[in-house]
């Protein structure tokens, strides 16, 4: 089931020796702040710390923009390549592994670069305000810079292994930043949870990598022995794999290969996606993300909304040339995405911590992105990634602004009526909210709509497109609902904060400027991808087309081959769906407005929706508890059992052997006692019983020795008779 045509996806390589600067600059910033930051902060002042942090970030922003322009300025598909050095490699005979330390920027990366450097810089700026009262200021900026480095590494790395460096690096920074307030045990634990859950995904990622690496260039027999198909050594470089997959002959052969009885492409893609569920907080590994809100709010904005968590989406899109060929994997991606979108949205209903609401919203929106890439609408997924980065970063920063003003209180019950106190925050927050709710014209509208439509229209997955679409649409309704609730609870109604707080609440320029910029983009950012149906030319999709050529063309081919479609290919159908979605969004907003015009406390909500239902949803369906009871506790018990096993059984066996040797030695050392004296003593005891003279038997008696001689000689003679 594959088109037999060669897909012209070859990009023109342009050497760009400056690319390394993009990740390197933040790394330098990190290094300086990590090593000297504490002293600088103490001796010179905080400004040195954030200056050191901001300069590299803006520097890499500038370099990134230069690179982006270089990519954009070419009409043909180009890829900027900066080959630094041989990273891992060896050559033995015909077998060579060659993993260069190379950064590459193609059109997809360019988009990501833009998002990461642009949003990242803004958040850095915001942080200088938000974090100004923190004591270990330097540490925050050091980690932030390190994060920028890792994230840029992730998107620019041109091979699986390079990507994995960034992949784990951002995980580490996430851990470090979540645990920023490490003296609070809960917050430290949240970081640990994030890292470990991410590692579960990484486990799958590595496994997928191993399967793919060998699956590409050789075949396993049923018995498990492996033979190379040709002279080609294994590779993990994206562009090489993409080029291979573009070759129909190769592709046909590859798709037929199985491992463990499963097609290699399916197994590896599912494993990669499992890795993505960890990083991008999808079911079942989403649990860490809400806890990750323990970190400072700018961190939530940068890492847990705009950049890191989208890495999974980026990876799936990057691997479109593999995923597209596995309908099964695509189905899994789309379905898990849809499920997550829906599921997380419902949890968002009753959360009272504003960051928690945003966290679940993020999980839900990430689900959208996966729907997009899952149904083969790779560019739609990426488009949503970008718009989401704007509005969710804005929302988080906005919430940061609120929290800062509220003296680090995050509960809605302490807020209300803040629109007057924090006008700039209110405006940007509102703009982002309508964007996420999908009000037409905002960026969220365009991207979400595109995903929904593409999913409805999808023929490349094993599930009916309308199912995915339906789930997504309901999730959109929910999103509109809880976002409206959030805005109303925070900004409207009577202020519930104490007087002192309200009086001191203020907005700093370094915090509001990023908010305005992001809010602006949240509103208008979508216009780069206005779909044709609305009269646009969807420049965004066309820009990314060459990157997704292999995957997208195959998806299209499948849809065609299966003659799939609901007759809605027309613009009319698209209009209908679009209108339906808009109506759903407005319904959500309206419903929320009806309920939350007036402040509803948690108790009120419980009454309103039914206590039991509210309780279950508020407690996130008790998933954390279930994980604790069903996975973590048994696991810890298992580790303790292993340690005890080690001590008692393994070590015990050895000690027992030693003990037994000692016992034997006692028996043996007293050999005359047992064999000679022993008999004698026994007989003596008998004699004693028989009433004969009582006498103490002593050891070391020479007679036993002579008896030994007698027995020894007769014994040896008999043995010798037998031997000769």
């Amino acid at each position: 089931m594959t088109p037999e045509t060669e897909i012209a996806a070859k990009a023109i390589e342009i050497q760009a020796g400056y690319l390394f600067l993009i990740p390197l600059l933040p790394l330098i910033g990190f290094f300086i702040n990590a090593v000297f930051g504490a002293r600088l902060q103490k001796r010179v002042g905080r400004w040195t710390v954030h200056t050191i942090a901001l300069i590299p970030v803006f520097g890499s922003l500038a370099v990134a923009f230069f690179a982006i322009f270089q990519v954009v300025s070419h009409d043909e598909n180009v890829v900027l390549v900066d080959r630094m050095w041989q990273w891992i490699g060896f050559q033995w005979g015909s077998h060579a592994l060659n993993l260069p330390f190379t950064f590459a920027v193609d059109r997809l990366t360019a988009v990501m670069l833009f998002v990461v450097t642009f949003v990242g810089s803004l958040i850095h700026v915001f942080s200088t305000g938000y974090m100004q009262d923190e004591k270990p200021y330097w540490r925050f900026f050091a980690w932030m810079n390190l994060f920028m480095f890792a994230m840029l590494f992730l998107i620019m790395g041109d091979s699986f292994l390079m990507m994995f460096v960034g992949w784990e690096g951002v995980g580490l920074c996430s851990y470090l930043l979540i645990s920023y307030y490490y003296d609070e045990v809960d917050k430290a634990a949240a970081g640990m949870k994030a890292f470990v859950v991410n590692r579960i995904g990484d486990f799958a990622f590595i496994a997928g990598m191993a399967i793919l690496m060998w699956g590409l260039v050789g075949t396993w027999s049923d018995a498990g022995t492996y033979t190379f198909d040709g002279e080609m050594g294994p590779t993990l470089v994206f562009r090489d794999i993409g080029a291979l997959m573009a070759d129909p002959a190769f592709r046909a052969a590859f798709l037929a290969k199985t491992v463990f009885g499963v097609p290699i492409v399916t197994l590896s893609c599912i494993l990669f996606f499992a890795g993505a569920t960890g990083k991008s907080a999808q079911i079942p590994l989403y649990v860490w993300l809400p806890d990750a809100m323990a970190g400072p709010t700018p961190v939530s904005a940068l890492i847990h909304a705009a950049t890191m968590v989208t890495a999974g989406v980026y990876m799936v899109a990057r691997l479109n040339f593999l995923f597209a060929f596995s309908p099964m994997a695509m189905t899994v991606v789309a379905f898990v995405g849809a499920l997550t979108a829906l599921f997380a949205a419902t949890i968002g209903f009753f959360q009272t911590d504003i960051k928690k609401v945003l966290a679940y919203s993020t999980v839900s929106q990430l689900g959208y992105m996966f729907i997009g890439v899952g149904v083969g609408a790779f560019s739609a997924g990426i488009f949503h990634l970008m718009t989401h980065a704007f509005f969710k970063a804005c929302l988080f920063l906005g919430s940061g602004s609120i929290i800062y003003a509220m003296h680090h209180r995050q509960e809605m019950k302490d807020m209300g009526g803040l629109r007057k106190v924090l006008p700039a925050t209110f405006i940007t927050f509102l703009a982002s909210s309508i964007a996420i709710a999908g009000i037409p014209g905002t960026s969220g509208f365009f991207s979400k709509d595109e995903i929904l439509w593409k999913s409805f229209d999808s023929g490349s997955i094993l599930l009916p497109g309308w199912l995915i679409w339906g789930m997504g649409a309901v999730a959109a309704l929910f999103t509109a609902f809880y976002m409206t609730r959030l805005v109303l609870q925070i900004f409207f109604g009577e202020p519930r904060a104490d007087k002192h707080t309200l009086e001191h609440a203020r907005e700093y320029k370094r915090m509001t400027i990023p908010l305005y910029i992001l809010g602006f983009f949240a509103l208008v950012g979508g216009f780069v991808g206005v779909p044709a149906v609305l009269g646009g030319d969807n420049r965004f999709e066309h820009f990314l087309e060459p990157v997704f050529a292999v995957g997208a063309s195959h998806v299209a081919w499948i849809s065609q081959a299966t003659e799939h479609g609901h007759g809605l290919h027309s613009h009319a159908g698209e209009y209908v769906l679009m209108g339906f979605a808009v109506i759903l969004g407005l319904t959500g907003i309206f419903a929320a407005w009806r309920i939350y015009r007036k402040y509803q406390s948690q108790e009120d909500e419980a009454k309103l929706y039914g206590a039991r239902f509210h309780n279950v949803v508020y407690n996130k369906y008790f998933v954390d508890e279930a994980y604790w009871a069903g996975v973590i506790r048994p696991f810890l018990a298992l580790t303790r059992a292993a340690a005890r096993f080690d001590k008692l059984i393994i070590d015990g066996a050895v000690n027992f052997t030693a003990f037994a040797t000692k016992i034997v030695s006692w028996i043996n050392g007293g050999i005359d006692k047992v064999f000679v004296d022993g008999t004698v003593n026994m007989l003596a005891d008998i004699t004693i019983l028989a009433g004969q003279r009582v006498r103490r038997m002593e050891t070391g008696r020479i007679q036993s020795y002579v008896t030994g001689i007698i027995m020894g000689v007769s014994g040896l003679v008999v043995i010798f008779y037998l031997l000769v």
Binding site: T699, G700, R701, I702, V706, T707, I710
Partner: protein, 102 residues
């Protein structure tokens, strides 16, 4: 029944075993030494008998004489030791001569 070499050897064997049993059972150190003499005599009977039967050389006799001489020497030394023991332990009961061994 004709007396053959076998009889002499058998006699010697009985003496030999008696001597060994003596060594293994006597508690008196001097008594033990008596057993040694039995053993040596057993060997001498053998030597002399073999010399007489079938072989005829004088080696056996010479050997026996040597053994007798050595036996005497050994006895002297052994008795000296027994006396030394007696000085220490006021007994020649070899059962009681046992300070060592743990």
């Amino acid at each position: 029944m004709h007396v053959t070499l076998t009889h002499f050897v058998a006699l010697a064997s009985i003496l030999f075993v008696l001597g060994l049993i003596n060594l293994a059972t006597r508690r008196n150190a001097i008594g033990v030494l008596l057993g040694v003499e039995l053993i040596l005599n057993a060997s001498n009977v053998n030597l002399v008998a073999f010399s007489r039967y079938g072989i005829g050389g004088m080696e056996g006799h010479a050997f026996a004489v040597m053994v007798i001489a050595l036996a005497a020497a050994e006895t002297v030394v052994a008795l000296a030791i027994v006396l030394a023991i007696f000085h220490h332990y006021r007994t020649v009961d070899v059962d009681r001569v046992s300070k060592m061994k743990l």
